[in-house]
């Protein structure tokens, strides 16, 4: 299986986002680099709006992710509730 990843800037906006992703994807692996946090996962990765909202205590629009996003890999699909990255092989 192939690895997908997503990377964010290291800052206070992304801390709860990273926490949510790690909680929702037990198979994901955290890779901390200078000024950047990268999350690698075999096959697929899901980011859930609700999990982020629980942690930040306000409504969250998944498109806000774009402000701190650095890079990603995998086929992406996004709707109002979740964003998934996957390699379908």
């Amino acid at each position: 299986m192939s690895t997908v990843f997503i990377a964010f800037q290291t800052n206070e906006d992304t801390r709860p986002i990273i926490e949510s992703i790690l909680a929702d994807n037990p198979h994901a692996v955290l890779d901390e680099q200078p000024a950047m946090v990268k999350i690698n996962a075999e096959g697929s990765l899901v980011i859930k709006r609700e999990s982020i909202e629980e942690r930040i205590g306000r409504d969250f629009d998944l498109q806000e992710l774009q402000v701190n996003l650095i890079t990603l890999s995998g086929n992406m699909d996004e709707d109002d509730d979740q964003l998934t990255l996957a390699w379908k092989n």
Partner: protein, 518 residues
């Protein structure tokens, strides 16, 4: 950030449908094929533009909102950087030479990307890609502008930044490498542009350019570069998905598209990898504090990540680019060969060079156990001995350039790292030289395009690279000095060794002032 997420009247998918597809119409005063004359000549067959899917489903209202937030963050940091003498926080002023290379070699590409995506948006009959290309076009001009703004802070204090992002890109020998890459893409049709820049550059190679560069900047205390870099990079995920969507769309629309797309992938993977030689050299030689070696970055971002991508595309019949065998050999050589070249031609460059010190050479040996000690350490050691005797080696012969990638012929044969590699083609009775099988292949496929290349060395020899009014027949004429003048490189200031440079002396003096009261 404390943004308010507004309660939505429409779901993301519905809103995207209304605000992109819903805005398009077919022309009636003129037939569609006359309005979109570039949509067909490349041979790509599209039957239904509505099948295009933009995974980010971004609409203009959301676009402006998030881009404005990015700009606010960026300029707040740039102000703080300027107000607090942020330039003294970097590890060593030697580091700034990587930034000079970025400003003169990469920022101008952002501007060309802006123009290219505007043109692609104009030329695609489909509404989905048109809107996505429009957004990317605006992103790219933002990248060019924010990079110039951020780096102008360094121009107040250091050499080599004054010619900025416009003058040198059209003139200087090594900058013709990135320039010709984009010129090649921009002078192709809209579909090839998308494979060249949208797919190969943005999807396959962008991580190798931006991630190591920005992590390197962060590691070396360069807050200005990290900030514009990450701000630009935050648009990149959207560009990558556009590139990937575009290739899948072409392949799903018609089986006849496969061989055309495969040819472009092969071509643009190789073209891009050649340009990235400059990044490899930056990572291995120019960062005082190193993040990872070029070889390691290559293995993570090209071999593993690119491997996953090509596995995914295999279902359409796409194969891994044919240059991959050579790349696997090259990853252990190109950064050393490139830095050795710049060291020899430091008098003709807009940044300073130096020889790696003992500790740096040991790091290189550890990272390149198969090649560094065997082929490159002896060369650097020899040059150091010469420099210590006051015979610093400069190469005063201009090198032959590859007709395609425009890099001097400095790379070696894939099966013999002691032998310079070059290939020869004939076209209309003239001989043309390329640096590799990859570049020869590209030349032979479209010779009528590449014989028009503006090759800096040829142009110097033809007398086209002197300031206006230069008389080469006067007594004591020094062509090199005149070329530097035309480049806007100040001899003795912007060029040659870092050791003994104004940058080195000033940085030491200013840093001293920042930490002491005298």
């Amino acid at each position: 950030m404390d943004m308010k997420a507004t309660k939505k009247k429409l779901g993301l998918k519905e809103k995207y449908a209304h605000m992109t597809r819903g805005l398009g119409w077919d022309t009636t005063y003129q037939p569609m094929d006359k309005v979109f004359p570039q949509a067909a000549f490349e041979g790509i067959k599209i039957h239904d533009w509505d099948k295009w899917e933009d995974p980010f489903r971004l609409t203009m209202d959301a676009y402006w909102k998030y881009q404005a937030e990015k700009e606010r963050k960026l300029y707040a940091v740039l102000d703080a950087f300027a107000q607090n003498n942020g330039h003294l926080g970097i590890t060593d002023a030697r580091y700034l030479n990587a930034v000079k290379l970025f400003l003169t070699g990469i920022s101008p590409l952002e501007y060309v990307a802006h123009r290219g995506f505007a043109a692609a948006g104009r030329n695609f009959p489909g509404v989905g890609p048109r809107v996505a290309c429009l957004m990317q076009s605006i992103d790219e001009v933002r990248h060019a502008q924010t990079q110039i703004h951020a780096l102008s802070n360094y121009n107040k204090f250091y050499e080599g930044f004054h010619a900025g992002a416009t003058h040198q890109i059209e003139r200087v020998w090594y900058l013709s490498v990135p320039k010709s890459f984009f010129d090649d893409a921009f002078s192709a049709g809209p579909f090839e542009w998308m494979i060249a820049i949208g797919f190969s550059f943005e999807y396959v190679l962008t991580n190798l350019l931006f991630v190591p560069f920005m992590s390197g900047a962060a590691y070396n205390g360069d807050m200005a570069t990290v900030t514009f870099g990450f701000s630009a990079q935050s648009d990149e995920a959207r560009h990558m998905t556009l590139g990937l969507e575009c290739i899948k769309f072409m392949l799903e629309q018609d089986p006849d598209n496969l061989p055309i797309v495969q040819k472009w992938i092969d071509k643009w993977a190789w073209r891009g990898i050649r340009v990235l030689t400059l990044v490899g050299m930056m990572m291995d030689y120019m960062l005082p504090k190193r993040v990872m070696s070029w070889k390691e970055a290559w293995e993570i971002y090209f071999e593993q990540n690119g491997g996953a991508l090509f596995n995914d595309l295999a279902k359409y019949g796409i194969k891994v680019p044919e240059c991959i065998t050579q790349c696997t050999v090259d990853k252990e050589h190109i950064s050393h060969q490139a830095w050795a070249t710049f060291y020899q031609y430091a008098h003709a460059s807009d940044f300073h060079t130096w020889l790696p010190n003992d500790e740096e050479m040991d790091w290189l040996s550890a990272k390149y156990p198969n090649t560094f000690d065997k082929y490159y350490r002896p060369r650097f050691t020899q040059w150091r001995e010469m420099a210590d005797k006051g015979e610093r080696f400069y190469n005063n012969t201009l090198p032959m350039l590859c007709q395609v990638c425009q890099i001097p012929m400095v790379f070696t044969e894939p099966d013999d790292p002691t032998k310079i590699c070059y290939r020869e083609s004939e076209y209309q009775g003239e001989k043309y030289h390329t640096c590799s099988d990859g570049c020869k292949h590209i030349f032979d496929d479209e010779p009528e395009k590449y014989i028009q290349a503006w090759l800096p060395v040829h142009q110097i020899y033809q007398g086209n690279c002197f300031p206006e009014g230069t008389d080469p027949t006067v007594e004591g004429f020094d062509p090199m000095l005149k070329v530097l003048e035309w480049y806007h490189i100040e001899n003795g200031k912007d060029n040659m060794d870092y050791e003994g440079s104004g940058d080195q002396a000033n940085f030491a003096a200013w840093r001293g002032m920042a930490t002491q009261n005298t």
